[in-house]
């Protein structure tokens, strides 16, 4: 479900196909509902080792993240700090991961590559960036840990099921049309880099 509250676009789980297809690269949104964390080891198990993901995530958000979780007898699991990790590490697996799990909403840090963009276009999914390094602001969006799987992978790599409220701001970087904001930005950055190398090269000749 998508709604606009005080000028903010908020998507709530379960996400529908329409919710996802309406998003465009550059949109800024927030989400309510269920997210599942999954990073390197979860992708390796599901794709390289062909194990089944112990969660249904086709209408939820996958977050590339490894939280700090505190466990106590009185309050159970509590999210102390959480934030996105470098999504590009999952690029190798993400096309197949999207195809296999049906996930349509991925949250991470930095951009992803052409294969993920292809999966987004083919299967109607999006990738969003959450500003990273803000682990306390983000932890306060976590209402409850509703479950955990694959804890044998360690705290950072386990699959945590978390209910969130107002998680964001999420900036859509790949939309279901396959537009890839970071790929576009990197081309411009590379162009400017070449100009700078030539410029510094000339300056260096005068000082060295």
């Amino acid at each position: 479900m998508t709604e606009t509250i005080n000028g903010k676009t908020i998507l709530s789980t379960p996400f529908t196909e329409e919710d996802i297809l309406a998003l465009r690269a550059g949109d800024v949104i927030y989400i309510n509902g269920d997210i599942v964390t999954g990073r390197d080891d979860v992708h390796i198990r599901v794709i390289a080792e062909n194990m089944d993901l112990p969660a249904v995530i086709n209408d939820k958000a996958l977050m590339h993240a490894g939280p700090i979780v505190k466990c106590s007898e009185e309050s159970g699991f509590e999210v102390i700090a959480i934030g996105p990790t470098t999504s590009m590490r999952m690029e190798k697996f993400e096309y197949d991961f999207i195809k296999k799990t049906g996930v349509r909403f991925i949250i991470g840090k930095g951009g992803m590559g052409e294969r993920t963009a292809e999966a987004c276009r083919e299967f109607g999914a999006v990738h969003c960036v959450l500003p990273a390094g803000n682990a306390v602001v983000t932890a306060l969006c976590a209402e409850e840990i509703t479950g955990v799987e694959w804890l044998d992978l360690g705290m950072a790599e386990a699959l945590w099921n978390i209910r969130v409220k107002g998680l964001g701001p999420l900036i859509v970087t790949i939309d279901s049309g396959g537009r890839n904001l970071f790929a576009e930005r990197k081309k411009e950055i590379a162009r400017r880099k070449e100009e700078q190398i030539e410029e510094i090269g000339k300056k260096l000749e005068s000082i060295l």
Binding site: A65, G66, P67, I68, K70, I80, A81, I82, G83, T85, T86, S87, M88, R89, K109, G110, G111, V129, P131, A132, G133, N134, A135, V136, V137, A139, L140, L153, G154, M155, A156, E157, P169, I171, F182, R185, K186, E188, I189, A190, R192, K193, Q196, I197, E199, I200, G201, K203, L204, I207, L208
Partner: protein, 301 residues
């Protein structure tokens, strides 16, 4: 105090200090981020800076690590040859990391290579990493601490260039890496460059460069000039906070250098993310200490 009590005290101070650096950024990083925010005009970049400051405020208020990736602990020791606890120092630091992991808490990030098992306490073979410099005749001990996040460690790189590639080759080496990986490593970045004989020395110096205070420059005028050129160049590339565009892409650029074989040009580059959690603590022989990176740090037994 008995020797045993002094060992325990130094362990407790270090555990507490490492935990403190996970929660509170050093003063120079906070000032630099404020300066970058004040000169930013792009509304999206400004809102990212605002989120950073809100996060720093909440981390301090709630005493929680500011980033969930509390990193791999890297320590650089500058120890006086007459420091009374020199023999026990490595064990003190290893125990301090375990205590900090439990108390702060830090995220257990350390995995034993080949066994592929998370040790659960941020120590392991060669973890924390410790590099030594002995200061002859001194009876104090300085320790640089650094929580090296995965995201900003990932783009690190070193190589030996042909001398014919020259300093322009060094510039290309650094800027290529930033253009390819900089957007993912949590910019604005602190960029450390090492120029030396071989990959090992260049890489070590590039990490050492990240321990230098922001705004400092190499005492070598030509190196300092190259630091300024690289800083301007990377900012002009327009990576911006979180890679989403903006005026500033770096917190700073530091170059550390050493002499080389006439036939080599070794270059290394290391990156620190915007939440650059480095600390510096200097002990006297009686374990009184100064923490110039974190003047707010106090130790209560």
């Amino acid at each position: 105090m008995t020797r045993k009590e002094r060992i325990q005290m130094m362990t407790d101070i270090m555990a507490s200090f490492i935990g403190y650096t996970a929660v509170h950024l050093p003063d120079d990083v906070i000032s630099k981020l404020r300066e970058l925010r004040d000169s930013e005009e792009d509304p999206a970049a400004l809102s990212i800076y605002d989120m950073m400051f809100e996060n720093m405020r909440l981390a301090s208020e709630l005493g929680r690590p500011s980033c969930q990736d509390t990193g791999f602990v890297q320590l650089r020791i500058e120890c006086g040859s007459r420091f009374p606890l020199i023999d026990e120092l490595e064990e003190i630091l290893r125990c301090a990391v375990i205590t900090a992991t439990n108390n702060t808490p830090l995220r257990p990030n350390v995995v034993e290579t080949f066994d592929e098992i998370n040790t659960g306490n941020n120590t392991g073979t060669g973890a924390p990493s410790i590099s030594w410099k002995i200061v002859p005749g001194w009876d104090g001990c300085g320790i640089y601490t650094y929580l090296a996040g995965g995201g900003c460690s990932l783009p690190g790189h070193a190589a030996v260039l042909m001398p014919g590639e020259g300093y322009k080759g060094v510039v290309r080496f650094v800027l290529d890496r930033i253009a390819e990986y900089g957007t993912n490593a949590c910019p604005p970045l602190y960029v450390g460059v090492g120029i030396a004989n071989s990959v090992d020395t260049a890489a070590m110096l590039s990490k050492e460069a990240l321990f230098r205070p922001l705004g400092s420059h190499s005492p070598n005028e030509k190196a300092a000039e190259m630091e300024r050129m690289l800083e301007d160049a990377i900012n002009t590339m327009g990576i911006g906070p979180q890679g989403m565009g903006g005026k500033a892409s770096v917190l700073g650029v530091s170059i550390q250098h050493a002499a080389r074989h006439t036939a080599t040009l070794g270059v290394g580059v290391s990156f620190g993310c915007w939440t650059h959690r480095r600390g510096h603590i200097v002990f006297e022989r009686d374990l009184s200490f100064v923490t110039e990176t974190h003047p707010g740090f106090t130790f209560v037994q």
